[in-house]
Symmetry: C2
Subunit: 101 residues, 2 copies
């Protein structure tokens, strides 16, 4: 996607947070660290996309991945500081939705 000349930052933010499922994944992780299956169950998202999104978010430094070498394997995801800083933003969207949808 080309960048908006208007506001590159907002453009970049929307490219990231506005991507399908991303905001909902972050919203879910605001509850605390969670495993792959827990997130998958909480949202109507498929494993394929969840895996893809989590990788993107990890790459952006928004989500942290922690592997526990148990049997069976356990993997937890949690928000980094950068990820937590999105709480206000997500809440603001939520509030708007409560008032207007």
């Amino acid at each position: 996607m080309k960048e908006s000349a208007l506001c590159p930052r907002l453009s970049k933010a929307m490219e990231l947070v506005g991507k399908r499922w991303t905001a909902l994944i972050i919203y879910q992780l605001l509850e605390g660290p969670q495993r792959f299956n827990a997130i998958e169950s909480a949202l109507p998202i498929s494993g394929r996309l969840l895996s893809e999104r989590l990788k993107e978010l990890e790459k952006e430094g928004i989500v942290e991945r922690k592997v526990f070498s148990e049997v069976p394997i356990r993997v937890e995801y949690n928000l980094t500081k950068k990820g937590q800083s999105l709480e206000q933003t997500v809440r603001e969207i939520e509030n708007w939705a409560k008032s207007w949808l």
Copy 2:
């Protein structure tokens, strides 16, 4: 897209505002009423998609379409109250972007 059992409102809001280009179109319209070509020039969006998005936003009551039967024809788009109510939300995303991107 299926609805999130977790938070249907946030889900609905993201479906709307999180759609590609939508937030940027609203951001642009916060400057005041604008014509089709003006929006198209301000953003790296194609006429095809801009037309599609404006229709969606009009249907959701976020944008108002006003036709002036001049020559050549003039069409202006502006935010409704519901649309204006998104200002805080968009600014919040912008602020986050300024701090973290």
